[in-house]
Protein backbone atom coordinates (compact mmCIF):
# COMPACT_ATOMS: atom_id res chain seq x y z
CA UNK A 1 0.00 0.00 0.00
CA UNK A 2 1.11 3.57 -0.58
CA UNK A 3 0.94 5.74 2.53
CA UNK A 4 1.00 9.54 2.61
CA UNK A 5 3.37 11.13 5.13
CA UNK A 6 3.78 14.79 6.05
CA UNK A 7 7.19 15.68 7.48
CA UNK A 8 8.11 18.81 9.45
CA UNK A 9 10.14 21.42 7.59
CA UNK A 10 13.52 20.45 9.05
CA UNK A 11 13.06 16.82 8.11
CA UNK A 12 11.90 17.71 4.61
CA UNK A 13 15.16 19.62 4.23
CA UNK A 14 17.13 16.70 5.58
CA UNK A 15 15.40 14.24 3.27
CA UNK A 16 15.60 16.72 0.38
CA UNK A 17 11.90 16.56 -0.43
CA UNK A 18 9.16 19.11 -0.88
CA UNK A 19 5.67 18.69 0.48
CA UNK A 20 4.02 15.39 1.24
CA UNK A 21 5.85 12.13 0.55
CA UNK A 22 4.50 8.65 -0.06
CA UNK A 23 6.03 5.40 1.09
CA UNK A 24 5.12 1.84 0.20
CA UNK A 25 4.46 -0.44 3.13
CA UNK A 26 3.92 -4.18 2.97
CA UNK A 27 1.75 -6.12 5.42
CA UNK A 28 -0.07 -4.62 8.35
CA UNK A 29 0.29 -0.86 8.53
CA UNK A 30 1.70 0.08 11.93
CA UNK A 31 3.85 2.97 13.17
CA UNK A 32 6.85 0.67 13.18
CA UNK A 33 6.22 -0.60 9.64
CA UNK A 34 5.64 2.90 8.36
CA UNK A 35 8.77 4.36 10.01
CA UNK A 36 10.87 1.41 8.84
CA UNK A 37 9.72 2.06 5.27
CA UNK A 38 10.20 5.81 5.61
CA UNK A 39 13.76 5.42 6.90
CA UNK A 40 14.54 2.92 4.18
CA UNK A 41 13.43 5.34 1.51
CA UNK A 42 15.07 8.36 3.17
CA UNK A 43 18.13 7.12 5.11
CA UNK A 44 18.93 10.65 6.27
CA UNK A 45 15.89 10.41 8.56
CA UNK A 46 17.37 7.54 10.55
CA UNK A 47 17.81 8.69 14.12
CA UNK A 48 15.83 11.90 13.53
CA UNK A 49 12.38 10.57 14.41
CA UNK A 50 13.18 7.72 16.78
CA UNK A 51 16.24 6.56 18.66
CA UNK A 52 18.63 4.35 16.74
CA UNK A 53 19.07 1.70 19.36
CA UNK A 54 15.70 1.60 21.13
CA UNK A 55 13.42 2.85 18.33
CA UNK A 56 11.77 5.00 20.99
CA UNK A 57 10.07 8.11 19.56
CA UNK A 58 12.18 11.21 20.14
CA UNK A 59 10.77 13.28 22.97
CA UNK A 60 9.88 16.33 20.87
CA UNK A 61 8.33 14.43 17.98
CA UNK A 62 4.60 13.68 17.77
CA UNK A 63 2.52 11.47 15.46
CA UNK A 64 -0.94 12.64 14.40
CA UNK A 65 -3.51 11.27 11.92
CA UNK A 66 -7.24 11.66 11.38
CA UNK A 67 -7.31 14.44 13.97
CA UNK A 68 -5.98 12.05 16.62
CA UNK A 69 -2.73 12.02 18.59
CA UNK A 70 -1.15 8.63 17.95
CA UNK A 71 2.14 9.49 19.65
CA UNK A 72 1.56 7.17 22.56
CA UNK A 73 0.04 4.27 20.68
CA UNK A 74 2.03 1.07 20.69
CA UNK A 75 4.42 0.88 17.71
CA UNK A 76 2.82 -2.32 16.49
CA UNK A 77 -0.79 -1.12 16.77
CA UNK A 78 -2.53 -0.80 13.38
CA UNK A 79 -2.83 2.72 12.02
CA UNK A 80 -6.28 4.07 11.07
CA UNK A 81 -7.96 2.70 7.95
CA UNK A 82 -8.05 6.18 6.38
CA UNK A 83 -4.23 6.32 6.51
CA UNK A 84 -3.92 2.82 5.09
CA UNK A 85 -6.32 3.69 2.27
CA UNK A 86 -4.50 6.93 1.44
CA UNK A 87 -7.41 9.18 2.37
CA UNK A 88 -5.51 10.82 5.24
CA UNK A 89 -1.78 11.49 5.72
CA UNK A 90 0.29 10.39 8.68
CA UNK A 91 1.65 13.57 10.25
CA UNK A 92 5.11 13.66 11.86
CA UNK A 93 5.19 16.87 13.87
CA UNK A 94 7.84 18.71 15.84
CA UNK A 95 6.42 19.60 19.25
CA UNK A 96 5.64 23.26 19.79
CA UNK A 97 8.36 24.09 22.25
CA UNK A 98 9.91 27.37 21.23
CA UNK A 99 12.84 27.64 18.92
Amino acid sequence: MSVRVVLPAHLRTLARVDGEVTVDVDGTLTQRALLDALEQRFPALRGAIRDYATHKRRAYVRFFACERDLSHDLPDAPLPDAVREGQEPFLIVGAIAGG
Binding site: R46, G47, Y52, A53
Partner: protein, 371 residues
Amino acid sequence: MSKVRILAGTRKGAFILTSDGKRKDWKVSGPFFGGWEIYHLKGSPVDPDRIYASQTSAWFGQQIQRSDDGGETWTPVGNEFVYDGVPGTHQWYDGTARPWEFKRVWHLEPSATDRDALYAGAEDAALFTSNDGGASWKELSGLREHTTGSSWQPGAGGLCLHTIIVDPNDPKRIFIAISAAGAFRTDDGGKTWKPINRGLRSQYIPDPDAEVGHCIHHVAMHPSKPRTLFMQKHWDVMRSDDAGDSWREVSGNLPTDFGFVIDVHAHEPETIYVVPIKSDSEHFPLDGKLRVYRSRSGGEEWEALKKGLPQRNCYVNVLRDAMAVDRLDKCGIYFGTTGGQIYASADGGDSWDAIARDLPAVLSVEVQTLR
Protein backbone atom coordinates in the same frame (compact mmCIF):
# COMPACT_ATOMS: atom_id res chain seq x y z
CA MET B 1 47.86 34.49 -2.28
CA SER B 2 46.77 33.12 1.05
CA LYS B 3 43.12 32.92 1.99
CA VAL B 4 41.37 32.55 5.31
CA ARG B 5 38.13 30.65 5.84
CA ILE B 6 36.21 30.91 9.09
CA LEU B 7 33.78 28.15 10.01
CA ALA B 8 31.20 29.44 12.47
CA GLY B 9 28.65 27.24 14.20
CA THR B 10 25.63 29.06 15.63
CA ARG B 11 22.35 28.33 17.37
CA LYS B 12 20.53 28.61 14.07
CA GLY B 13 22.86 27.34 11.39
CA ALA B 14 26.42 27.43 10.08
CA PHE B 15 28.14 30.35 8.41
CA ILE B 16 31.35 30.51 6.41
CA LEU B 17 33.35 33.73 6.16
CA THR B 18 36.16 34.07 3.66
CA SER B 19 38.79 36.68 2.98
CA ASP B 20 42.12 37.00 1.29
CA GLY B 21 45.29 37.24 3.35
CA LYS B 22 44.73 40.91 4.10
CA ARG B 23 41.70 39.94 6.19
CA LYS B 24 39.95 43.24 5.58
CA ASP B 25 37.03 42.31 3.34
CA TRP B 26 34.95 39.33 4.31
CA LYS B 27 32.32 37.45 2.37
CA VAL B 28 29.70 35.77 4.53
CA SER B 29 27.86 32.72 3.20
CA GLY B 30 25.08 30.79 4.89
CA PRO B 31 23.12 29.93 6.80
CA PHE B 32 23.79 26.30 6.11
CA PHE B 33 21.37 23.95 7.92
CA GLY B 34 19.24 26.95 8.89
CA GLY B 35 17.34 26.54 12.13
CA TRP B 36 19.57 23.75 13.45
CA GLU B 37 22.15 24.13 16.17
CA ILE B 38 25.60 23.75 14.68
CA TYR B 39 27.83 22.97 17.59
CA HIS B 40 31.06 22.71 15.63
CA LEU B 41 32.60 22.58 12.19
CA LYS B 42 36.17 21.70 11.42
CA GLY B 43 38.18 21.09 8.27
CA SER B 44 40.64 18.31 7.60
CA PRO B 45 44.27 19.45 7.82
CA VAL B 46 45.02 16.97 5.03
CA ASP B 47 42.33 18.25 2.67
CA PRO B 48 40.96 21.65 3.72
CA ASP B 49 37.98 21.31 1.39
CA ARG B 50 36.86 18.33 3.46
CA ILE B 51 34.83 19.87 6.29
CA TYR B 52 32.80 18.12 8.94
CA ALA B 53 29.88 19.69 10.80
CA SER B 54 27.91 18.66 13.87
CA GLN B 55 24.26 19.52 13.25
CA THR B 56 21.97 18.92 16.17
CA SER B 57 18.47 19.55 17.42
CA ALA B 58 16.54 18.74 20.57
CA TRP B 59 13.70 17.78 18.23
CA PHE B 60 15.39 15.72 15.58
CA GLY B 61 18.65 14.55 17.08
CA GLN B 62 22.16 14.46 15.71
CA GLN B 63 23.37 14.70 12.14
CA ILE B 64 26.94 14.80 10.89
CA GLN B 65 27.34 16.70 7.65
CA ARG B 66 30.35 16.52 5.37
CA SER B 67 31.50 18.79 2.58
CA ASP B 68 34.15 18.01 -0.02
CA ASP B 69 34.13 21.39 -1.72
CA GLY B 70 35.00 23.79 1.06
CA GLY B 71 31.49 24.10 2.40
CA GLU B 72 29.56 24.85 -0.77
CA THR B 73 27.61 21.59 -0.71
CA TRP B 74 27.00 19.13 2.09
CA THR B 75 25.98 15.53 2.52
CA PRO B 76 24.64 13.95 5.70
CA VAL B 77 26.84 11.02 6.69
CA GLY B 78 26.60 8.63 9.63
CA ASN B 79 24.77 9.63 12.78
CA GLU B 80 24.58 6.34 14.64
CA PHE B 81 26.30 7.14 17.93
CA VAL B 82 25.69 4.12 20.12
CA TYR B 83 27.53 3.55 23.36
CA ASP B 84 29.59 0.40 23.54
CA GLY B 85 27.89 -2.29 25.62
CA VAL B 86 25.38 -1.45 28.31
CA PRO B 87 26.19 2.05 29.52
CA GLY B 88 26.20 2.54 33.25
CA THR B 89 25.29 5.67 35.11
CA HIS B 90 26.85 9.02 35.89
CA GLN B 91 25.85 11.58 38.51
CA TRP B 92 22.93 13.87 37.78
CA TYR B 93 22.92 17.48 39.04
CA ASP B 94 21.37 16.38 42.32
CA GLY B 95 23.91 13.63 42.85
CA THR B 96 21.59 10.76 41.91
CA ALA B 97 22.61 8.14 39.37
CA ARG B 98 21.54 8.78 35.77
CA PRO B 99 21.97 6.39 32.81
CA TRP B 100 24.24 7.54 30.01
CA GLU B 101 22.17 8.86 27.10
CA PHE B 102 23.56 10.22 23.83
CA LYS B 103 22.43 13.78 23.14
CA ARG B 104 24.75 15.53 20.68
CA VAL B 105 28.28 16.00 19.36
CA TRP B 106 30.06 19.03 20.75
CA HIS B 107 33.38 18.83 18.97
CA LEU B 108 34.80 17.20 15.85
CA GLU B 109 38.54 16.68 15.51
CA PRO B 110 39.73 15.55 12.08
CA SER B 111 42.97 13.59 11.80
CA ALA B 112 46.16 15.41 10.85
CA THR B 113 47.13 12.58 8.48
CA ASP B 114 43.96 10.97 7.09
CA ARG B 115 41.05 12.94 5.63
CA ASP B 116 38.63 10.13 6.43
CA ALA B 117 39.58 9.79 10.10
CA LEU B 118 38.20 11.93 12.90
CA TYR B 119 37.11 11.97 16.51
CA ALA B 120 33.81 13.21 17.91
CA GLY B 121 33.28 14.38 21.48
CA ALA B 122 29.77 13.69 22.70
CA GLU B 123 27.23 14.55 25.37
CA ASP B 124 26.73 12.46 27.52
CA ALA B 125 30.49 12.32 27.71
CA ALA B 126 32.08 9.85 25.34
CA LEU B 127 34.65 9.80 22.59
CA PHE B 128 33.73 8.33 19.21
CA THR B 129 35.95 7.71 16.20
CA SER B 130 35.31 7.24 12.50
CA ASN B 131 37.70 5.97 9.84
CA ASP B 132 35.38 6.28 6.88
CA GLY B 133 34.68 9.99 6.64
CA GLY B 134 31.98 9.97 9.28
CA ALA B 135 29.88 7.23 7.71
CA SER B 136 30.19 5.00 10.76
CA TRP B 137 31.21 5.62 14.36
CA LYS B 138 32.68 3.54 17.13
CA GLU B 139 33.01 4.51 20.74
CA LEU B 140 36.42 4.43 22.43
CA SER B 141 34.70 3.15 25.51
CA GLY B 142 37.76 2.87 27.71
CA LEU B 143 37.20 6.52 28.58
CA ARG B 144 33.56 6.32 29.64
CA GLU B 145 34.26 3.06 31.43
CA HIS B 146 37.01 4.62 33.52
CA THR B 147 36.57 3.69 37.17
CA THR B 148 35.59 7.27 37.98
CA GLY B 149 32.87 7.43 35.29
CA SER B 150 29.98 6.89 37.68
CA SER B 151 31.00 10.05 39.58
CA TRP B 152 31.11 12.39 36.56
CA GLN B 153 28.45 15.07 36.64
CA PRO B 154 27.11 17.51 34.07
CA GLY B 155 28.05 21.16 33.99
CA ALA B 156 25.39 23.72 33.15
CA GLY B 157 25.69 22.83 29.47
CA GLY B 158 25.43 19.10 30.04
CA LEU B 159 27.91 16.27 30.57
CA CYS B 160 29.87 17.15 27.47
CA LEU B 161 33.20 16.08 26.03
CA HIS B 162 34.18 19.33 24.38
CA THR B 163 37.95 19.32 23.91
CA ILE B 164 39.98 16.84 21.86
CA ILE B 165 43.68 17.45 21.27
CA VAL B 166 45.86 14.90 19.51
CA ASP B 167 49.58 15.15 20.19
CA PRO B 168 51.11 16.13 16.82
CA ASN B 169 54.19 14.00 17.56
CA ASP B 170 52.37 10.95 18.84
CA PRO B 171 48.85 10.26 17.54
CA LYS B 172 48.32 7.66 20.24
CA ARG B 173 48.48 10.42 22.85
CA ILE B 174 45.15 12.23 23.07
CA PHE B 175 43.96 14.80 25.58
CA ILE B 176 40.25 15.32 26.20
CA ALA B 177 38.26 17.42 28.63
CA ILE B 178 34.78 16.95 30.04
CA SER B 179 32.49 19.29 31.93
CA ALA B 180 32.34 18.43 34.74
CA ALA B 181 34.68 15.51 35.09
CA GLY B 182 38.02 17.01 34.17
CA ALA B 183 40.85 16.31 31.77
CA PHE B 184 41.99 12.86 30.72
CA ARG B 185 44.88 11.53 28.66
CA THR B 186 45.43 8.34 26.76
CA ASP B 187 48.87 7.18 25.62
CA ASP B 188 47.64 4.11 23.77
CA GLY B 189 45.25 5.54 21.20
CA GLY B 190 42.21 5.51 23.45
CA LYS B 191 42.22 2.08 25.05
CA THR B 192 43.09 3.32 28.53
CA TRP B 193 42.80 6.74 30.08
CA LYS B 194 44.09 8.53 33.16
CA PRO B 195 42.65 11.62 34.81
CA ILE B 196 45.13 14.52 34.59
CA ASN B 197 43.74 16.98 37.11
CA ARG B 198 46.44 17.25 39.78
CA GLY B 199 46.77 20.85 40.81
CA LEU B 200 43.21 21.86 39.97
CA ARG B 201 41.10 23.19 42.82
CA SER B 202 37.33 23.59 42.52
CA GLN B 203 35.20 24.83 45.37
CA TYR B 204 31.95 23.49 43.92
CA ILE B 205 32.78 19.84 44.59
CA PRO B 206 32.99 18.19 48.01
CA ASP B 207 36.75 17.62 47.77
CA PRO B 208 38.20 20.69 46.00
CA ASP B 209 41.28 18.85 44.72
CA ALA B 210 39.58 15.57 43.86
CA GLU B 211 40.89 13.37 41.07
CA VAL B 212 37.79 14.13 38.95
CA GLY B 213 34.78 16.44 39.09
CA HIS B 214 36.37 19.65 37.77
CA CYS B 215 34.47 21.79 35.30
CA ILE B 216 37.06 22.42 32.62
CA HIS B 217 35.86 24.82 29.96
CA HIS B 218 38.59 24.51 27.36
CA VAL B 219 42.19 23.37 26.83
CA ALA B 220 44.66 24.57 24.19
CA MET B 221 48.10 23.47 23.02
CA HIS B 222 50.70 24.87 20.66
CA PRO B 223 51.81 22.11 18.26
CA SER B 224 55.50 22.90 18.81
CA LYS B 225 55.21 22.29 22.58
CA PRO B 226 52.86 19.35 22.99
CA ARG B 227 53.72 18.84 26.66
CA THR B 228 52.50 22.32 27.51
CA LEU B 229 48.76 22.72 27.92
CA PHE B 230 46.75 25.81 28.79
CA MET B 231 43.37 25.50 30.45
CA GLN B 232 40.47 27.82 31.11
CA LYS B 233 38.70 26.16 34.00
CA HIS B 234 35.30 27.25 35.29
CA TRP B 235 37.31 29.56 37.52
CA ASP B 236 41.12 29.74 37.11
CA VAL B 237 43.46 29.78 34.14
CA MET B 238 45.95 26.93 34.46
CA ARG B 239 48.98 25.56 32.68
CA SER B 240 50.80 22.26 32.62
CA ASP B 241 54.31 21.61 31.34
CA ASP B 242 54.27 17.87 31.81
CA ALA B 243 51.44 16.79 29.50
CA GLY B 244 48.83 17.32 32.16
CA ASP B 245 50.44 15.35 34.96
CA SER B 246 50.38 18.51 37.08
CA TRP B 247 48.88 21.97 36.73
CA ARG B 248 49.59 25.37 38.21
CA GLU B 249 47.45 28.46 38.21
CA VAL B 250 48.53 31.31 35.91
CA SER B 251 45.54 33.64 36.35
CA GLY B 252 47.93 36.33 37.60
CA ASN B 253 46.55 39.84 37.15
CA LEU B 254 43.38 38.90 35.23
CA PRO B 255 40.44 40.97 36.50
CA THR B 256 38.41 37.77 36.76
CA ASP B 257 39.63 34.30 35.97
CA PHE B 258 36.23 32.90 35.02
CA GLY B 259 35.75 32.36 31.29
CA PHE B 260 35.31 29.80 28.57
CA VAL B 261 37.81 30.22 25.71
CA ILE B 262 41.57 29.94 25.68
CA ASP B 263 43.87 29.75 22.68
CA VAL B 264 47.54 30.01 21.71
CA HIS B 265 49.18 32.29 19.14
CA ALA B 266 50.11 30.41 15.97
CA HIS B 267 53.81 31.28 16.08
CA GLU B 268 54.48 32.19 19.71
CA PRO B 269 53.85 29.20 21.97
CA GLU B 270 53.94 31.32 25.13
CA THR B 271 51.43 33.89 23.86
CA ILE B 272 47.93 32.97 24.97
CA TYR B 273 44.49 34.58 24.89
CA VAL B 274 41.43 34.43 27.13
CA VAL B 275 38.20 36.40 27.39
CA PRO B 276 37.45 37.02 31.08
CA ILE B 277 33.79 36.71 32.02
CA LYS B 278 32.43 38.26 35.19
CA SER B 279 31.43 35.12 37.09
CA ASP B 280 29.71 31.76 36.95
CA SER B 281 26.42 33.43 37.78
CA GLU B 282 26.83 36.41 35.42
CA HIS B 283 28.03 35.20 32.06
CA PHE B 284 29.06 38.52 30.54
CA PRO B 285 32.14 40.73 30.52
CA LEU B 286 33.04 42.86 33.53
CA ASP B 287 31.43 46.32 33.53
CA GLY B 288 29.95 45.80 30.05
CA LYS B 289 33.44 46.03 28.47
CA LEU B 290 34.45 43.26 26.10
CA ARG B 291 38.17 42.64 26.41
CA VAL B 292 40.51 39.93 25.27
CA TYR B 293 43.46 39.40 27.59
CA ARG B 294 46.81 38.37 26.19
CA SER B 295 49.77 36.97 28.02
CA ARG B 296 53.11 36.85 26.24
CA SER B 297 54.67 34.90 29.08
CA GLY B 298 52.45 31.83 29.11
CA GLY B 299 50.28 33.26 31.87
CA GLU B 300 50.59 35.28 35.09
CA GLU B 301 51.12 38.62 33.34
CA TRP B 302 48.18 39.71 31.22
CA GLU B 303 47.36 42.79 29.16
CA ALA B 304 43.89 43.94 28.15
CA LEU B 305 43.20 44.19 24.42
CA LYS B 306 40.26 46.44 23.71
CA LYS B 307 40.89 48.46 20.56
CA GLY B 308 37.88 47.92 18.32
CA LEU B 309 35.90 45.97 20.93
CA PRO B 310 32.78 47.44 22.57
CA GLN B 311 33.66 49.20 25.83
CA ARG B 312 30.18 49.96 27.06
CA ASN B 313 26.89 48.10 27.42
CA CYS B 314 28.31 44.82 26.15
CA TYR B 315 26.76 41.77 27.82
CA VAL B 316 27.57 38.90 25.50
CA ASN B 317 29.38 35.68 26.30
CA VAL B 318 32.15 33.93 24.40
CA LEU B 319 31.62 30.16 24.50
CA ARG B 320 34.31 27.55 24.90
CA ASP B 321 34.92 26.58 21.27
CA ALA B 322 34.39 30.08 19.87
CA MET B 323 38.00 31.27 19.53
CA ALA B 324 40.56 30.27 16.92
CA VAL B 325 43.76 31.52 15.29
CA ASP B 326 44.97 31.52 11.71
CA ARG B 327 48.53 30.66 10.66
CA LEU B 328 49.43 33.65 8.53
CA ASP B 329 52.73 35.38 9.29
CA LYS B 330 50.93 38.03 11.26
CA CYS B 331 48.74 35.74 13.33
CA GLY B 332 45.01 36.41 13.14
CA ILE B 333 42.79 35.84 16.18
CA TYR B 334 39.02 35.30 15.90
CA PHE B 335 36.18 34.86 18.33
CA GLY B 336 32.41 34.72 18.22
CA THR B 337 29.87 35.90 20.78
CA THR B 338 26.45 34.89 21.96
CA GLY B 339 25.31 38.24 20.54
CA GLY B 340 26.11 37.05 17.03
CA GLN B 341 29.28 39.03 16.43
CA ILE B 342 32.48 37.60 15.07
CA TYR B 343 35.51 39.70 15.92
CA ALA B 344 38.79 39.39 14.06
CA SER B 345 42.25 40.72 14.73
CA ALA B 346 44.83 40.61 11.95
CA ASP B 347 47.62 41.82 14.25
CA GLY B 348 47.80 39.29 17.04
CA GLY B 349 45.09 40.95 19.10
CA ASP B 350 46.27 44.57 19.10
CA SER B 351 43.15 45.73 17.26
CA TRP B 352 39.81 44.17 16.41
CA ASP B 353 37.03 44.49 13.85
CA ALA B 354 33.56 42.98 13.86
CA ILE B 355 33.50 41.02 10.61
CA ALA B 356 29.91 39.84 11.26
CA ARG B 357 27.53 41.57 13.63
CA ASP B 358 24.10 40.00 13.57
CA LEU B 359 24.46 36.26 13.31
CA PRO B 360 22.62 33.92 15.67
CA ALA B 361 24.46 33.17 18.92
CA VAL B 362 27.88 31.82 17.99
CA LEU B 363 28.72 28.41 19.44
CA SER B 364 32.04 27.73 17.75
CA VAL B 365 34.67 29.31 15.54
CA GLU B 366 37.36 27.51 13.57
CA VAL B 367 39.79 29.00 11.07
CA GLN B 368 41.41 27.50 8.02
CA THR B 369 44.49 29.12 6.52
CA LEU B 370 44.50 28.25 2.83
CA ARG B 371 47.67 28.69 0.81
